[in-house]
Amino acid sequence: MNQADNIDTLISHFLEHDKKALARLITLAENDPEIARIISSKLRNHSHNSYILGLTGSPGTGKSTLINKLVEFLSDKGFKIGVISVDPTSPYGEGAFLGDRVRMREIILEPNVFIRSVASRGSLGGLSKAVFDIAKLYDAYGMDYIIVETVGAGQSEIDIYNLAYTIILVTVPGLGDSVQVQKAGILEIADILVINKSDLGGDFLKINLNMMLESYTRERGWRPPIIRTIAKEGEGITELFQAIQDHREHVERSGQLNEMKRTHIQKRIQVLIESLLFKQIIQKISMTNEINKATENVLSESQDIYSAVYEILKPFFDKIEKIQ
């Protein structure tokens, strides 16, 4: 079959480190779940145990600039690095403005660096499926480090928890400081805290962060270090890399890395099952009329919203009962 031939050719180029082939495989996997499955199957034995870093933080904290410097640093040491930059899809349509590359001009010409921008494409709960697929492709390609940069709003930070081994939270002085960082769950998932734009201050922020780190116990046996950086000057990058090395050594030695890999796969399987089941059901059932009727009922207050939904779903729940 033509499609299959093309994929096999692409894969053989990909295995010879042809960047065009990598880029094309990413596009195919992003756009067609069936092809994604075929690619995934053909490459399942090609893992290089790439080490996955997650960088998260509010917009404007300098994540992209920081990544640029970090990748430069890693590249100079001879590592191969794959970057995934997640930018939000417009909530009004399918388009997106992906501008993270603007901050990464120095590294983009390095032969051992590959950067791909990804629109979140409206995935509920953060990282789109594409991010996981790209990470797997990078791993098969032979990247030493994979760096995922996330939007840093909503739940994508939580999702990074299911992908990365070392999570770096980037903050800057003056953005509401400690309260902003204490958003539920964010501080707790960070393995390394970076205070960027340190030329603007940050002493008070550091004290606050330290206090918060004192006040809750962490089961992972790791106290997140706080690294001060000035990304645009390249300051603090050596210290950041050291912190990453330290954390990596910790998770490897303690066995946590293997645990994480296992948990990640389990979670992924769960997520995929849910999403595929959902798609199957929605495809088979057109509920437009029922939904329109329910909307009118709820608007006119002749029905409450939960009753309206239950009424629509009752026939399907009844059928599912019979399956057991």
Partner: protein, 122 residues
């Protein structure tokens, strides 16, 4: 969407990028002062269908052929190259198209026209 060379006027590039985004297109915005190598590298890694080049510095007759050549040498000569900016002389536009620019959208081009053109090629 890239601005090659020394040109610093990016309002047009941003306006067009936003219009494309609103029309459902994913736009990789690479910003100012791109070298031809940076443009082609980005196009390869992002596996783009179109390369948009905005040039208001007058250097289009030098920059565009260079980018086209580099694109072909690197195996992405099949992507559509669209140019915008102060490219208005009919003879130059004709020459650019002969060299491989797919279409030129001069000053005042309605963004809808650009969107429709892109959709017509997909």
């Amino acid at each position: 969407m890239a601005k090659p060379g020394l040109d610093g006027h990016d309002r047009g590039a941003k306006v067009v990028s936003m219009a494309l985004r609103d029309a459902g297109i994913e736009v990789i915005y690479t910003g100012l002062h791109q070298t031809p190598e940076q443009v082609v590298n980005a196009a390869i890694q992002e596996d783009v269908d179109f390369i948009g080049l905005s040039i208001l510095s007058g250097a289009h007759m030098t920059l565009l052929p260079r980018i086209i050549k580099l694109a072909k040498e690197n195996g992405i000569g099949d992507r559509f190259i669209l140019a915008g900016g102060t490219i208005v002389i009919p003879e130059e536009i004709a020459e650019l198209k002969k060299q491989g620019v797919k279409e030129v959208f001069g000053p005042g081009s309605p963004t809808k026209k650009i969107v429709d053109y892109i959709n017509s090629l997909m």
